[in-house]
Point group: C2
Chain length 733, copies 2
Amino acid sequence: MRAAHTHVESRRSRPATAWQVARLGARDSVPAAGDWIPASVPGAVQLDWARARGLPDPYYGSNVRAYGGLEDSYWLYRTQIPRVAHRSNERLVFACAGVDYECEVRIGGTHALSHRGIYTPFEIDVSLVPPGTALEVLLFPAPKRHALPADRSQASHVTKPAVSYGWDWHPRLIPLGLCEQAGFEVRPRVHLRHVDFAYTLSEDLSSAELRVSVESSDPAARHTWRLSDPQGGVAAEGRGPGGRLENPRLWWTHDHGGPALYTLEVTLAGEDTVRRKVGFRRVRLVMYPGQWDADNSMPKSRDKPPVTFELNGRRIFAKGSNWVCPDIFHGRVDAGTYRPLLELARGAHFNLLRCWGGAPAPREEFFEMCDEMGLLVWQEFPLACNLYPDDPAYLETLERESRALIRRVRQHPCLGLWVGGNELFNSWSRMTDQSLPLRLLNRNCYDLDPLTPFLPTSPIEGLGHGDYRFRNRGLDAFEIFQRASCNGYPEFGCPGASPVEYLRTFIPPEELWPPREGTSWEVHHGLRGWEGDANSWLFLNTLEDYFGPSASLEQMVSRSTWLQVEGYRSLFEEARRQQPRCSMALSWCYNEPWPSAANNSIVNWPARPKPSYGAVQAACRPVLASARIPRFQWRAGETFTAELWMLNDSAEALPGGTLTAELVLGAGRSRLSQWTFPGLAPQENLRGPAVSMELPGAAAAEFVLELSVSPRADWSSTYRLSLRAAGLPPLPK
Amino acid sequence: MRAAHTHVESRRSRPATAWQVARLGARDSVPAAGDWIPASVPGAVQLDWARARGLPDPYYGSNVRAYGGLEDSYWLYRTQIPRVAHRSNERLVFACAGVDYECEVRIGGTHALSHRGIYTPFEIDVSLVPPGTALEVLLFPAPKRHALPADRSQASHVTKPAVSYGWDWHPRLIPLGLCEQAGFEVRPRVHLRHVDFAYTLSEDLSSAELRVSVESSDPAARHTWRLSDPQGGVAAEGRGPGGRLENPRLWWTHDHGGPALYTLEVTLAGEDTVRRKVGFRRVRLVMYPGQWDADNSMPKSRDKPPVTFELNGRRIFAKGSNWVCPDIFHGRVDAGTYRPLLELARGAHFNLLRCWGGAPAPREEFFEMCDEMGLLVWQEFPLACNLYPDDPAYLETLERESRALIRRVRQHPCLGLWVGGNELFNSWSRMTDQSLPLRLLNRNCYDLDPLTPFLPTSPIEGLGHGDYRFRNRGLDAFEIFQRASCNGYPEFGCPGASPVEYLRTFIPPEELWPPREGTSWEVHHGLRGWEGDANSWLFLNTLEDYFGPSASLEQMVSRSTWLQVEGYRSLFEEARRQQPRCSMALSWCYNEPWPSAANNSIVNWPARPKPSYGAVQAACRPVLASARIPRFQWRAGETFTAELWMLNDSAEALPGGTLTAELVLGAGRSRLSQWTFPGLAPQENLRGPAVSMELPGAAAAEFVLELSVSPRADWSSTYRLSLRAAGLPPLPK
């Protein structure tokens, strides 16, 4: 029997479940007594195996190579039906929230159920099975569509995340196992299997029609429910599915009003109760002002699709980043993994995270924290950079897994957007609007969550992904974005080396300097990371082009960090200056699954902010002074120019002030401009004066542009720019 | 009880049904005996009313104005349950294939059923109703979302076609009535309600899995079926739904192999039989060769959606036009209306017709003829140029009507594409990818006909609509398309006046010359036709710009025709020269619902080819010599240039030949080039030499470019171009 993931609280007990696992020589092998090792659930067989067999820490040096063969084995989990004192009116259930990736469940040696997928839960009533009976889970090897190439394309027929098959910032290591909660539960005879909360807000947001429905062990049983407001008072209650709430307090992102959460308590037949937080918001994708009139030449194509988020009737600028798996092993990710990362995200003034389709969709705890912290979530289905086929077997799995995921996540007010997957309409994937998997996902989202926006993939028309290099085709990050004119930037990045003290934690001392191929630098993505570019992600060539050879690890890291810091600052600020045509800036990427030597991330694994985090945080302040600076590096004697702006993303009208622009070069300080700007309307940017100054011929390596705002010093901004050394040849084009 | 449209043949009888109709003063009015007038079914109340009350022919002069108020009345149809000698094991059923637009059915004065929609059939078993009992249909006034403006936006909440609310080539006249078959039928007790034929071709097209399913009055009854091949031999047969066919003969368009049709005969319980033609084809939308690599700059957007038709594995160039309602009154359209129009379409070498969403979807006979003639059909849902709302009531109607339409039309091999509607992603409609009606249509097509391509609207990205003027923004049609770079042109047009002898049939003699506003010229769209342009569609201003004032009706029509003829020729040929990037050329529009004074149509109502038909026919020949001519009008003494091409749309490799280009001016003839072109690969265009010649200073008004092909004279082409009169001022920009 299959049933849904749900959060059940009262009158239930969960007997401790001890698991063991054995690696099998073949599917039908019978493990010897000595083959059994302790298993952690949720977890991954690789972690159990490493613990039992003393494999080295895969995150250090090149140790990950020792984990190579494990993905191709069958693994057998076992436990026993527990002996519990359950009364005759109670049930004992084996409940499993999902499996990575395919398995058979046997009870007492008899086949009970076959299962495929991380997102689809199942449960088995074992009340009548004698205690002590073996419950086994035969886990299949990692699915592979073909033997070679050994890359993400092996996962193009499954809902298993493609990332673990190898990515430019993720090693090849394919976790397998009971990656979700799996164990026994004693429940009342009449119990809830799933609680579904849905609502429709009136057009003016002044009332909500509620629908509280349940799935239970007894379809005839009646349920009651109570909705408590954020202060704990009873806001609404009812018997059965229908209800209504007047003047709901709305859920907003933390930067636009804060996340009001209600508590819903549902009780079935007076016996079984579920309690969860819910919230009320309306999210839409809308056109930006003036978009409908942007072009009327003939032959006339369509107007570009809307990509501006509107939350509760207010257009917002989506600031944030791409969330990737916070650990190679999804099975060991928990609330403790999520919380510091999400607090840092909120601290960076982000209001949206894109849960990228290459990674596993997060657990419930992630969405609960985003609900609570006021962070919107763009959730993708598990498709990325592959040609997923119009194949009945794949469509059947995707149907089941996507419906399970939608049913679970749609309950969260933080959910802002469903997306079919990553970069599917691009040449490296080759799916199209006609691909049946994407039409299926549209269908399922329409059926199950029609009021949350849906896009088949990112990018769609008007959105742009990239660049991911500080310098490309003779342009730096500043120039690339100033020439771009997208409606949103859901991916863009500047790579940076990790801090020296962090590098020392996972790169063996003897390999630290200089970085060489074939060492841990390469394993951890510093060299030959990105298939198209052997220099990624350290880009020693770019550093040398800008600054000449680096003399030490410290100097190299410092230079790389400089590019990442100022690159990200320029990119986020430029995207904001392009409002209202542009309404979205999501950097690639936020975090990482293990220690990277260099990466576009701004937070190292597990939750260590890199220096670029601070620059992004500054660039995402609701209000700030900003300079459009044509490029990063300048030559002595050249005329420096910049354009001054005041950026206001907040919904508040703000008083004016004075912006003083000064150029600091060594001990010298020159005032470029003093701009008295008027009051800022809500969500309005102001374009100020252009400034310029001839840079002295002196041989300083850098200079600083300081924008000081009075009286609001917290709106001030600083840019550290490069002066090209005299002896270097011209920058290559 | 609702049931589906189907084609039932045997063991059934249809007692003659005499209908009357009365116009009601109010919804609840009871007609007096003298109020009843004879009604034709299928038909329209306006036609019945005109016949009974002696209204003048609405197609002549300005008579259509006399039909104004009828749309706002309630109308009551009535007939009687017939007295038929049906045996006890037979049923008497009232069956109605759809109503325009909303009604209540009463039997013996008692409400039996409420209905809304043209596409959803219904039936009522009246076996137990005493003969002679009244069956009444209370028809509601034309639905209007608002009182003003009185235009297409009044229909933005219904599935009733928007076109009859007024369009630039369609008068305001909103038909109402029993527009589909509606009457009584004696059936066997166990009878078929719907037969559904579906199949899945193997990837290599060498076999088909068949599914023959039925809906019937008795779910327990078993059905048998037999599939006969085009020669009449039994190809497959079975009991129940499953079956298989090896080596199916494929259905092709007439220009790519011809439409092989099988005959399917289904018999239920030995009592009731349905027979219909079916065919086997695979249609896909695919990327054009090289499209995936067209752009790789960053930020990278999506690659454009595929719009190239692939039929049975072969990419084809879609040549055709936009099919509009062939009569204002859909209710009187029948096979006799369709056949001459479709024969002309095939005769023009068209292989695809776009059934535009503003008009009613055609009847079964249309699709049967397209099956038989090898014409692909692009079928749109009834949405056009409006903001159809995310409204539950509208969504419910659209759900029902769209499912009925899909269920009916998906059975036809000629069906090539489902499209949500016309120009919905443009500023004059303002629907978007997030609009629930379009997500619903995508969902329903996925559920019911997943293997036929679906697009939400036209244009989408890569497709272009327009221009519709010979001259716009200082460019002529030649120049507009030569500067365009779309992947397909699903709408483009050149307007032309109707022939003089045709104009005389509907414009009163006293109004014929000169055309004036407020006369039949305006009523029939010659003046003030298109909201944005008071000159449409005669464009007397453009004629005067090119040629100076016209002295007579004949001269004006001759000039207008010249522009339409050479404009269409240049547009179709240019679209073909843009292969493979471009794969579609569908002119706006093919036909018309009533006599137009001027229009982009190439066939006048009801089926009279205009001179432009011949030019389009020539430009759509599978193989032809073609010249890319920079513009239509030249000045004496100027250097004329052109580029020579050989175009081959056919799937055949063809031998080479010689193309001789000559310029004929008055009595003079100059050879510009003799190009010996090599053999033509299948579906390959060849670009030949550029030619040029200084035009003499003589005062001829025109010259001709002749491309003569040897040995294939049937590939030769001729272009008649204009020489600007010396006394005219320069063409305005």
